[in-house]
Symmetry: C2
Subunit: 590 residues, 2 copies
């Protein structure tokens, strides 16, 4: 079901009902871009914490254009799921002149990708549902309440116009009317006097004028006509701001008018919270939220609809856990034994096709009448609601399969079943070779990188120079950082201990450091820069239980042969490819 | 005439002809936003140089969505102008994987403004004409030439895939095939061998795979099948990248194929230059280019279609002069005596209406058959070509009027007439009170600001505190900088000399500086930060000839009463209003 600014209020109760009835929910988002610059591109040696910081700094300025939500409700009698896919277009239209005027980034290749998929940008910009984070909402609410308080102390002249920003609550006092405006203001006062004398018309619209002149009018009219007129703000069809003067007969009428206006303003703020209400409903439900390769989706959902992303990684985990108590990433599930061995590709479109064939069993899913009947084909891919819908199907397919392996086999696997539990609150890490997942519930599993070395070398050096330098230690893998530095990983880990002693003395043209030393040096510099953002968890690698189904193997097969979508200039995470990313892979990760 | 990616090549000759036949040209642009943050908002005390830096830093990350060009050709026989309005939708779609992937900023209020004017975003993003700056073009050309050179030395294995970026020209040498890819690459080689053995099919499309694997394929196939096959790149309808293998019979055929491919690549680059060609045609014509309030348009046109904006202000002037040898800003003309006194508003839509009534004479303008017949009403406002069209009309209207004042009166005023000359290469400065214009041809006219003082004070201070402090010197005007600082300007300039001696000693709660001292202190700090961007012209105010028609008075009347459009959340410069800008005008400029 398509949801825009036009039908949001009327559809919201249905969304709420669907969430409350659901067994689990699935989500997907479409963004205006992926990476603010190439320096935020992902690397196979990112730690979960480093990946978070790359997303926070390099991706959070992009906008969410579309959010897909699909609710899944299991019908035990018929052994089918009922799915309700909602496709929300969202846009932070400033709801008033006091509201934040968001600046956001777009990436040409992502916009072009969305355009090639038939994405409707006009619908986003013209009919997108507005939203506010909780912080923005409470600031605006405080601002309104403060202003309403000022109005109630109306006997003293108020110097606040209805359209001045939140920051202008305490203005700098009465303004002297500049010479060039005096005549105009006098004319306004005369026309108001005439209006009052005539007793015919009910209201008088003043000519449109700019904010400063309106401020002068408010100030002067209140001084001269205090309890005889009420001033209201209006925007005409040309988007010009007008002041509307109405006659009042008593203090009581004035108060009534003020109260009416105040409740209208509060209702407008309520409307402006918009799509954030859906996220709050999902959060309050506490239900399992499933996504595919959902780290970036999660980051955007939190950042745009809840609150600014914290600089501190642990605070991010706490925030994510607080907003979405239970999440599950189907890409992690698909890349974990035993599913992994049976799935040649975990790219969403491919995954769905595999889930429909043995040994998996096609899940029975029905969509109610008033929702679009999605055909299971690639034509809808990258519409957020469709991607959310098939993500949910993949989840039920894989969890049923896991349930079938139990003794005795489970006919229905609920979202809190023991076979599902190992995957909850863990995020898949794209292209990371040796870290299985980001763990939202505790410390991350960080492997030993004793066989990894950081090397700085002359610009002329090529891979062959590095191969030659490291030839005493057997085969290596190179992860280029830039033209003059790289990580080198040994295949033969037992050779690691001799690298430093052998290579350190040889040559002044290069500089070599152990991975740990390099990282600590780097972090020292970083933490000196922003001492309020401790990155301590990374410093002492901790051993932790791996997934109990079996440890996750590197997602490297993903880079293999004929996988669909791998090369898309994508604007969402489900296509799992970054524009121009092949540059990262000039040399393989190990 | 609407011009998009679809008809650009076919329309370009007509554009060229229209430019070459024209007497003068007019332009207008629509942007994705105005100010990256509030700190880049304009101030009435900006110098032309400060204004440039604000635009460069605060506006140049926004994108141009639409460029309007209108050519005007005078028909002496009929005393009419023939106008040809072209409306170009432009978008920097990356034309290849080597091309720049532009990140750009949008401002919600500007997008919402465009949306409310019925702007078609789908047309921009799906059919926008691409473009490259000269720098980007020559970098890409060098890159192609370098790669073509590598291909001609084909006997040695080339390690460059056709889709690697410009930076990857010199790659880091041969790649060892990782274990997990060996089987796949072997399979590819076997299928190529079979294809060669069978002699049936003309070409073989390899399965789509990612950039790294394609690199491995290129490398291996070239080693094994050197002069027997040709490898080409293809993108299928799913936007997946494929390698296409074709059989070759001789070295000559190989060379021919390579040359064909190279000329295709060069043609693609030529297409990618796209809209920049129109700007080059305008530039080469050397004709007068008219715009309304065109400083921001000029900055965007240079930045997006010519070259990155220089940090140095003098270099900017030189660049502008070089690209557009003759420009004219109709808003400056409208705000200069004698037009100024006859025009109650210089906002574009209003200006046109005034130009149509006495003492101005409605210019006779015809639009040829194959162009849209623009009705002169507000419904087309903010379509770039319409705005360019009426800007040109306003120019002819005002210049005819000036010609009529000559003795003897001129019946036709050519764009190089002496009455027009005083306005050329001068840019109107929005809301600047005492600087008449930015002069592209020489040093700016910088007035004395001896009566202006910079003051820092406690946060609690309001206007009344400043009025009181300065009460010994008569009336003042306050230009707020933030909550704790402002410029104070004296009405009575003769009081200026005593301010410092009287106020400096009085109170420790505030700190007062002369305008000059404050600016120099500020500039010292600034120039320490970026020593390569000297801002020397500003340091010694120079006296210069004002416009010979009479000096320009402050644009303050613009802020007056009932002017249309003043309150728009605009996305172009012709509406001459910034979102939320009324905060700047809590207190008047003097």
């Amino acid at each position: 079901m398509e949801v825009t600014r036009k039908n949001f209020s009327s559809v919201l109760p249905e969304v709420e009902k669907a969430i409350n009835e659901a067994d689990f929910l699935s989500v997907d988002t479409e963004f205006s871009g992926l990476h603010a610059s190439n320096s935020f591109h992902i690397s196979p040696l990112d730690t979960p914490e480093e990946r978070y910081h790359k997303l926070r700094k390099g991706s959070s300025d992009f906008l969410v254009f579309q959010v897909g939500l699909c609710t899944f409700c299991y019908d035990k009698e018929n052994s089918t799921y009922e799915a309700k896919p909602f496709n929300f277009y969202v846009f932070p239209k400033p709801y008033s002149r006091a509201a934040p005027d968001c600046r956001f980034l777009c990436q040409s290749s992502s916009i072009d990708f969305l355009a090639s998929q038939g994405f409707d940008f006009n619908k986003v910009f013209k009919e997108g549902i507005p939203y506010l984070t909780s912080t923005q909402e409470s600031e605006l609410r405080d601002f309104l309440e403060e202003r309403h308080k000022q109005y109630t102390q109306f006997s003293s002249p108020a110097f606040v116009t209805p359209d001045s920003g939140a920051e202008a609550v305490t203005t700098k006092g009465p303004i002297e009317i500049p010479e060039e405006h005096k005549e105009f203001i006098e004319g306004i006062c005369n026309s108001i006097q005439e209006f009052l004398d005539k007793e015919g018309e009910e209201s008088l619209s003043l000519p449109s004028c700019n904010g400063f002149v309106r401020k002068l009018i408010y100030q002067t009219v209140r001084q001269r006509f205090q309890s005889r007129v009420h001033l209201g703000a209006k925007t005409n069809e040309k988007k010009q701001r007008l002041i509307v003067v109405t006659r009042i007969k008593s203090e009581d009428e004035m108060k009534k008018k003020e109260l009416e206006k105040q409740s209208t303003e509060l209702a407008e703020l309520e409307d402006a919270v918009g799509f954030s209400k859906v996220i709050r409903l999902i959060s309050q439900s506490g239900k399992l939220v499933v996504g595919h390769n959902m780290f970036m989706d999660l980051v955007h959902l939190l950042h745009r609809f809840c609150s600014k992303l914290p600089e501190n990684y642990q605070e991010f985990k706490a925030m994510a856990k607080c907003v979405f108590p239970k999440i599950l990433d189907t890409k992690l599930m698909a890349n974990t034994t035993p599913c992994k061995e049976l799935l040649p590709s975990s790219v969403l479109g491919d995954l769905l096709k595999h889930i429909y064939s043995p040994p998996f069993k096609k899940p029975e899913v029905v969509i109610p009448e008033n929702f679009p009947r999605y055909d299971i084909d690639d034509s809808n891919l990258h519409e957020a609601a469709y991607d959310a819908y098939i993500t949910g199907i993949c989840f039920t397919g894989m969890s049923s399969f896991l349930g079938g392996l139990q003794k005795p086999p489970l006919s229905y696997v609920p979202p809190d079943a023991p076979v599902v539990k190992p995957f909850t609150n863990k995020l898949f890490l794209m292209r990371v070779a040796d870290v299985p997942y980001l763990d939202l519930e505790g410390d991350d599993v960080l492997p030993s990188r004793d066989h990894v070395f950081h090397i700085t070398f002359p610009k002329e050096w090529k891979a062959s120079d590095l191969y030659q330098l490291f030839s005493p230690f057997g085969n290596i893998n190179i992860t280029w950082l830039d033209d003059i530095s790289a990580y080198v990983s040994l295949y033969k880990r037992d050779q690691s201990s001799t690298v430093m002693s052998t290579l350190c003395k040889r040559d002044a043209r290069y500089k070599i450091l152990t991975y740990e030393l390099f990282k600590n040096g780097f972090k020292d510099k970083e933490s000196r820069k922003r001492s309020h953002a401790p990155e301590s968890t990374e410093e002492e690698p901790k051993k932790k239980k791996p997934l109990n189904v079996e440890s996750v193997t590197p997602p490297m097969p993903e880079e293999n042969g004929n996988k669909a979508e791998e090369e898309n200039m994508a604007a969402d995470s489900t296509s799992e490819q970054q524009p121009n990313e092949q540059k990262m892979f000039e040399v393989p990760a190990w």
